[in-house]
Subunit: 342 residues, 2 copies
Amino acid sequence: MAHPDEFALIRAWTEGRQRADFLSSRGVVTGIGDDTAVVASPGGETEWLLTVDAMAEGVHFRPETMGDADVGYKAMASCISDIAAMGGRPLHALVTVCVPPSWTPARTQALYDGLYACADRHGVAIIGGDTTASRADLVISVTVTGQVRAGRAILRSGASPGQKVFLTGPIGLAAAGLYGLLHPEAPRPPDSLVRAHRRPEPHVRAGLLLSEQGFGRALNDISDGLACEAWEIAEASGVGMVLREEDLPVAGELAAYARRCGRSPLDWMLYGGEDYALVGTIDAADEDEAKRAFREAGLPFFLVGETVSGPPGVWLETATGKRVAVAKRGYDHFRGEDGEGG
Amino acid sequence: MAHPDEFALIRAWTEGRQRADFLSSRGVVTGIGDDTAVVASPGGETEWLLTVDAMAEGVHFRPETMGDADVGYKAMASCISDIAAMGGRPLHALVTVCVPPSWTPARTQALYDGLYACADRHGVAIIGGDTTASRADLVISVTVTGQVRAGRAILRSGASPGQKVFLTGPIGLAAAGLYGLLHPEAPRPPDSLVRAHRRPEPHVRAGLLLSEQGFGRALNDISDGLACEAWEIAEASGVGMVLREEDLPVAGELAAYARRCGRSPLDWMLYGGEDYALVGTIDAADEDEAKRAFREAGLPFFLVGETVSGPPGVWLETATGKRVAVAKRGYDHFRGEDGEGG
């Protein structure tokens, strides 16, 4: 059977199911709909961030492109990235692993090795979980908590016209790496692209800098591709977003690999996803200060466009000054597309 | 292949992987190993409880005995029960649902109806989740947060010799209901037993009373059967536990159904599980006060035994005064037993 759009379905199943005053009585500052939920903490100075992300065998990963430890690493990374996308500091994780009979204990051990490798790298304490059986496929679901100073969580809805759009790193690398792994006839991808696919790093320090120094107005991580994530900010904020093709950061190895494949890197950059760089907006007046702060922190920071008034949407301004509408598409599980970088 | 004991494996994958001083730097008061994790909150007056529980189609539930809404209800209930088993107040939930192509949107909608029905009943705000595809089976993983007054979380390890053992409700009903549903040749089970299997209620108010009034010394919810949960307390606390057969509360409908089936209710009560009553210990000196407090709150409270010094273990004292060792068994997914009421 054909499923309608995933997000519309999930909205129908969850939206408006609990009253605003009830949610507020439970300390809920931001519920379903952003990268993470935000809940008040009794002390009042910080807020808690909570997020969960799942990966299913055959849908989100395939053994042809990901080792078992990579699956664990990426499951943890994608959740930590949601915390980064709010400007928060990740703190704790709980892990559900449903293990089919075909997985040996050694494979599950490798999965845990990957989970811990990513958690350790980002200072996340694994404090609980549920390891249980499944009949057919491995399913892993990771919950991560984080903290942010009260009122400083950076939502998707914070953009307004006249702001600058930034990226915290080059994009498209994971998608290019996946392409190379899935197409044996294509040139062999360099290790850096394969690693981008298998061991993506969430941009936690960049997110923290944006919230702690107060620069971030809107923020999203690029789990589903720049096009999709930019659209989410545009729609949540009610703004248009113009990306300048010339200013989008193209990593050298991506450009070289795209050339060898006879492809343009732009498709991977717009629709690839799973790089976990952050996309967001800052006030135009903060441009110089934000650039300096990122430079001083030793973190990449690329200004790639502006927000404009008008109906929500995303446009690409080409080198010749032409504005091309960017399609609102990313990966949609329920359409049965490939789950990785698609 | 044969899997070793589930808990031993999970311990091997997780124990000692992160240093105590690192966990403590992340505010972790209690990590992996109890019903929930306990983490410090910046304010200091309360602590956060965090737990996750998963259910997989064909392993933890079967369409023959559970409607889709029941699956959602039970997934939420089992997680809330973990909060109750720490003496906490459940507050928030995040829900992962991996939906196979065979499930229609109407079925997933029913699953969410069950999730919300249980969340609403226990005052839990659903604040996030991940709904995604799976290839074969439905998998649902629920994360629940709760709060408890700092230092008041009731662990499994708090029992010491000479305490009284209590139950907060009759047990074995869910297992009897499941038995009736799985055995068409057996007498039809009464609705109350079927409901106990499909819509178990966590004992949140009892857990809160135990922590807020300071009675609870050790506490566990009976998700895996009284025998298994009593053993967990005995081992975590280093005590023996003697249960008096005559004092174990047998619900009238359970006794009647067991008679009609020509079975003893005791097996369901000791090894059944999924009733979500609480088992725990109080100081002997608190017996009268605790009884009064439960009576005033309108909550069941049964004193069923004592803790004794000596090697950890659980014994059943029969009507004739004989002590019989209670086997340490409950449901173990990795042995491929039936997941329900074990």
